[in-house]
Subunit: 201 residues, 2 copies
DNA sequence: TGTACATCAGTGAACGCGCGTTCACTGATGTAC
DNA sequence: TGTACATCAGTGAACGCGCGTTCACTGATGTAC
């Protein structure tokens, strides 16, 4: 019998939590958010369908944990992109962040999708909201500078950040929704051209 | 017994198709794409769960019909916005289209969501792809002028249109994903401020 | 105007599926003496 | 070093659910003569 590369080798006692998260992420990547199921995750982890209950209250909690990690990851990448492009100036850093954002989305479409599917997530979870805010402030700090952010996200004072975010988020969504022939090519050739459109402003 | 306003009065023989579509749209509006089900649609139409089969091959076909109508509606609104703002000049017309696009999305979030959930739609359906293209060309014709469009959507020649589309689409998605406190207020006060950011380019 | 027949527009019961969650349970591990 | 016990980290069978689709069927409508 050949190994099925979908299944993970059975974790040691006590290592189940990360194993479940890893299997769940792979399943998401393969089948998308709509194709996800807890039972299939358990199957791939080589574990009973009830096993997750020891670590996660329910499916929503597991998905929220994944989305939280994803936002943290995104924030890290935005910060890294900013750092490495900083020597070339502020405009270059902003562009680098935009490219990092889109690359994140296109490399892991299902995970990116999940992050915004609030109906499936526990949006009251503190870690989740904190991670999401952190990613947002990575953008905001760079675009608007160090000014304090207003309490409300729809304050027009945030317009510069939200304009930039809308642009990049829209590009990422369109790419993942199949609006372009090839998302990766679009990332390399089309996105720079799009960003050029606005480089004056 | 009080009327349940969810249920539609039982359609006359032969009028089932539009009645099903209407009930399905209402159900979508209430429960979102993930909460949609054919059986519930049938229930609300006062009809057997097998009834739809006479008009639609399967669930996918029904959803595709709704998405097709939605794209046609969107295209109509984009064209109307352009027409009524045309006297004020090209820039005003482009802005008016952007506002019409976002308003469409925010007024019917679930329908807008469905239009991009290609996993649930029959993307080989001719009417569907035609309607989607028509909406796209409403944007493209105005932004780039009458130049012929390249075959591929990720051709950098389309960058001006795609940049504008990304911006507006991203704003609409963020609004519907709950990124702003109040989508309708964001539409009225924030979107104009965002468009101002780019009005120079 | 009446009747025989064909087609239309559904009906309603049933099938089989995979799902999330619960429950009583159990073997493995750790701890106290 | 050995034993008794408690807790940990799950097991696996079962429950009940709603779903999309199929199937043989049937009453209503339309048509021909």
């Amino acid at each position: 019998m050949s190994d099925n590369s979908n299944t993970v080798k059975k974790p040691r006692r006590g290592d189940l939590r990360p194993a479940l998260l890893q299997a769940a992420e792979r399943l998401l990547a393969e089948r998308g958010v709509d194709g996800f199921s807890l039972r299939e995750t358990a199957r791939r982890t080589g574990v009973s369908p009830a096993a997750h209950a020891y670590y996660f209250k329910d499916t929503r909690a597991l998905l929220t944990a994944i989305a939280t990690a994803a936002f943290d990851d995104l924030a890290d990448r935005l910060a890294a992109a900013e750092r490495s492009a900083a020597p070339a100036g502020r405009v270059a850093a902003i562009r680098a962040q935009a490219e990092a954002y889109a690359a994140f989305a296109i490399d892991a479409p299902a995970k990116f999708d999940l992050m915004w599917r609030k109906g499936l997530l526990d949006t009251d979870d503190g870690a989740f909201t904190q991670a999401a805010e952190r990613a947002f402030f990575c953008l905001d700090r760079l675009v608007r500078g160090e000014q304090a952010a207003p309490a409300n996200k729809d304050d027009p004072a945030l317009a510069p950040t939200l304009a930039w975010w809308s642009l990049v988020h829209g590009f990422a969504c369109l790419a993942n929704e199949g609006a372009f022939a090839d998302p990766h090519k679009a990332l390399e050739r089309l996105l720079p051209a799009i960003l050029d459109q606005y480089s004056a402003g």
